[in-house]
Subunit: 389 residues, 2 copies
């Protein structure tokens, strides 16, 4: 496999938008191409992510229309990927694999989602279709419910009183909102305190409002090229070091909700390919759809031993200028926002900008190796990408 690099990256401001999925993707995609010192005609393929365009806008089969908005050649195929919240990470992984294989030299990947239009209660119900419909949806499962169960299991398994655990989870929210306050593209840019989190409306016991990420609108895109060509085009391409993807079935075959086995399999692939371990990672964008999810991810990725990440944020180990590793400097899904099909590409965008030293007030000093972690569904899909400068 050839060495593969990322050139230009871009994302729209995340939040509530009146733009369509295609308009948002065009904005991000054209910016990513321009930043790569390339033109749309140079893109040899589009790896496009979107989850629920059919429910949001009556739009299935969005890839060729995104292709048209960007003005790509007819001979450059556009392919839609859907892996729930991991959609754009999975699309990017496939793009990088095919550039590595020599099938393409330069491609564009990314995703878009207009998640707010249907309103939060209906969106919660609708995106719950990423759970197993026959067995789980019929039982009333939604994502807040799944992560609420995981929180209870974590508390029980590691004998951490729920009240204490919730206090530590609140510190995850405080940290990520602090990071988001330095990100002009974030959905939420206001700092919060733990009291706000612990005083929030109950969503799914024990998860309260500020334990949950928002639904957001937004798009993100990145240009991927063979490393030699990338170096000719840009002074600071960022390189793919390792990638992984794992899958696991419905909750009824996942015995322990505190161990996301698909992540453990995926991270192992990525670390092995990159020839690095958890201790080598300088900065991480991980899937904090709920505060407990950040804790589970830190353990599944091997950054912390199982049962020990719950107080990482409280101890200041994961915040900017923290003592261990900087986690979600963008604000994460929690504060930057979560436009489902765009999220993975925005995580990659953040890591690329961090590794380039372009992150302004939230820059992680001396970041050389970064990790992206995206979860799809109730632990059904995980995709990891390790990048290096």
């Amino acid at each position: 496999m050839r060495q593969v690099a990322i050139l230009g990256v871009a994302m729209t401001k995340f939040g509530v938008s009146e733009k369509t999925n295609l308009e948002m993707f065009a904005e991000a995609g054209l910016e990513a191409i321009a930043r790569s010192n390339l033109e749309p005609k140079d893109m040899e393929a589009l790896f496009f992510g979107n989850c629920l365009g059919d429910f949001e806008e009556g739009q299935l089969h969005m890839a060729p229309f995104a292709h048209a908005e960007l003005g790509l050649p007819v001979s450059s195929p556009a392919t839609r990927f859907e892996s729930a919240c991991a959609t754009a990470t999975v699309a990017t992984r496939h793009a990088a694999l095919l550039v590595g294989a020599g099938v393409y030299d330069v491609v564009i990947a990314g995703g878009t989602e207009r998640a707010t239009k249907m309103g939060t209660p209906l969106a919660t119900r609708t995106f719950a279709m990423a759970c197993q419909a026959q067995h789980e949806s019929a039982a009333g499962i939604t994502f807040p419910g799944v992560f609420a169960m995981a929180t209870h299991m974590y508390s029980h398994k590691y004998d951490i009183p729920l009240k204490n655990l919730k206090r530590h989870m609140a510190d995850v929210a405080v940290k990520n909102h602090y990071h988001g306050s330095m990100n002009p593209k974030a959905h939420f840019q206001k700092k919060i305190d733990a009291e706000t989190v612990l005083g929030g409306m109950m969503v799914a016991d024990p998860l309260q409002l500020f334990d949950c990420c928002p639904f957001s609108d937004g798009a993100s895109a990145l240009v991927i090229a063979e490393a030699g060509k990338a170096k000719d085009l840009m002074k600071n391409p960022i390189f793919f070091a390792g990638m992984g993807q794992g899958s696991n079935g419905p909750l009824y075959i996942q015995k322990d909700l505190t161990r996301i086995r698909a992540r453990e399999a995926s991270a192992l692939q990525a670390y092995k390919q990159a020839g690095v371990g958890p201790q080598d990672i300088d900065v991480i964008e991980l899937h904090d759809c709920f505060t407990i999810a950040e804790i589970l991810a830190l353990e599944g990725l091997g950054i912390y031993d199982f049962g020990t990440a719950y107080d990482a944020a409280t101890k200041g180990e994961t915040a900017l200028h923290g003592k261990k590793v900087i986690v979600n400097p963008s604000g994460g899904l929690k504060a930057k926002g979560h436009p489902i099909g765009a999220t993975g590409a925005a995580q990659i965008t953040e890591i690329v900008e961090q590794l380039r030293g372009e992150s302004g007030p939230r820059q992680v000093d001396g970041a050389r190796i970064g990790l992206v972690d995206t979860l799809g569904g109730d632990f059904g899909t995980i995709c990891n990408i390790i990048l290096r400068s």
Copy 2:
């Protein structure tokens, strides 16, 4: 790129089923694996196709659940592809590319769709979401409408009176139903005559009922492996010779509905890679969603010059034992049926069985090279695969 082969192939009977998407896919997938003399644990990845599971069964993110039904390992990623009717062909192309690249040695690809459950009128409206929503769906466009317009344009452009053209189109339906009468997996297994076609209910002027393929339920799957490994496992693997995929945007940038530019780009890629031309093809499964679509495909694929394929069926050139090239021996979408996300894999299944000489009464004598052609949406996606024995 390494040489890549197809091992076991399988499809459910197409038609109306009470089984879920996942149950149908499990049936086809496990049969394809067994026929490959392999076990589920040997599958290193799943390339899964489905279009509208969310509308059909409230199921998004179906790939990891299909993965679970097959019993695949957690480290084998499952990825959903959606390219409207070309979904499973696009999934298969990506699978073959990644096996060719050495990312995987053995994978499974395919698709499933439960298209009949919502009933034909609602399904027509719902699958029309594969047109461009903002500009086309709002104007009331559905697929019968698009192909009706293409029929009028063909009649006008080549100065063929509509009445004559319709008679020739009826002969396409007669041929494909004749082929379907020999296919025990086909949705429709009854021969029809031209009078039946021309006497059918009007759907979208000038397309009548028997000009249109049905919505069907069904699944299809195939196992793909590196050629050396394939030869060790099976006495008659079938080899990928060439592949192509092209994309084109909304109808408003497609000036001439008789020329599907994405197909011309895709077919060129496939022929070039295979080192063969249209004259070398022995058997074709192409996208006859409407009778006119078979005529457009024969021209776009270079089998006939533009404006000359309209009477190919009438002259008996494309039927079994025909004089030029055998087209849709399975019965095509027209008679075999069209479970959207499964169709491409079933086309491949037919070509593989033809090249193996396993097609019984509908066997194409001496077939050595076969072509698959699948169209997604209103000309937005085309994927072509050339196979050889």
